[in-house]
Amino acid sequence: MAGTKWMPRWFYQLASPRWCYEFTGKLLPWCAAVAGILLVVGMVWALAFAPPDYQQGNSFRIMYIHVPSAILAQSCYMMMAIAGAIGLIWKMKVADMVAYSCAPIGASMAVIALVTGAIWGKPTWGSWWVWDARLTSMLILLFLYMGVMAMYAAMENEAMAAKAASVLALVGLVNIPIIKYSVDWWNTLHQPATFTLTEKPAMPAEMWLPLLVMVIGFYCFFAVSLMMRLRNEIIRRERRAGWVRDLIVAYPNTGKR
């Protein structure tokens, strides 16, 4: 690996568990502060200050958690699959740990998206659940997450588990474009995307601005949760390394520096 010059330096630094641990330790408090502020501001804005929808009334406020959690569930899946692929190709331990840490967060985001979608569907469509393309592909995403988590849980050997889980995550990647284009490919009850990169949102600014705040807030929350899980995983797997022992000896209660 040392012979390849075309890889940037940060890629090798990221490969070092110790460097990763120290770097995320510096980043974590800032991300946590930003996530907390954005989520609180976004939620108050979404619940009290955003105008009600002219058709759906106040039930439309569910969108402010439904959309961010659905976006995050898919982004998290892509990150898990890419990290898994890096782990497979370069045998990078940290990448395996990232993939492992992504799975429970993404699964819980998929649960939020599905549950809030069901609760929103009841007053809007008159039904908690329909076997619609978007809903079904999102349910498959949750099952993929659960499959990946089951792989890690079932296999004693960490390297083998990481390999199997990464392959499953990569195969499941085909589901991501299916979720995205399900509203275009099939006749569906589900409304099309709220945010696209190419067009202006159809709703007024006072409606989509809080949504943007919530989406960024959810991404920051994801970063916080992922870094916390990753740091635990680094300590657990590197427990025999000298630097981890020094860390624990110096801070036996928290392991914090």
């Binding site: 989520l39 939620m43 619940l47 009290a48 200050f49 955003a50 105008p51 009600p52 009334g57 106040n58 039930s59 406020r61 569910i62 958690i65 439904h66 959690s69 429970p104 967060i105 819980s108 649960v111 939020i112 549950v115 809030t116 609760i119 929103w120 009841k122 007053p123 929350f221 916080v224 949760s225 916390m228 899980r229 740091r231 635990n232 300590i235 657990r236 427990r239 981890v244 022992r245 624990i248 000896v249 801070y251 036996p252 209660n253 928290t254 392991g255």
Partner: protein
């Protein structure tokens, strides 16, 4: 502010159950996602510290 009073805000024009249930579930899951790693970190570090103490006693 879109509501004239706090009770109006809580009522959500008859959509209270749907809105508050969604937000409640989402907030709970987000908090659990932060709390669980903190708790598992405590357990992990305590176990490692105990093991290191035990090993240093044996030597």
């Amino acid at each position: 502010m879109q509501f004239s009073s706090f009770s109006d805000f809580l009522m959500m024009d008859g959509h209270a159950l749907y809105v508050w249930l969604s937000y409640g579930i989402a907030i709970t899951i987000v908090i659990v996602n932060v709390a669980l790693p903190i708790l598992s970190r405590k357990t992990l570090v305590n176990n490692l510290a105990r093991r290191i103490r035990r090993e240093s006693k044996q030597q």
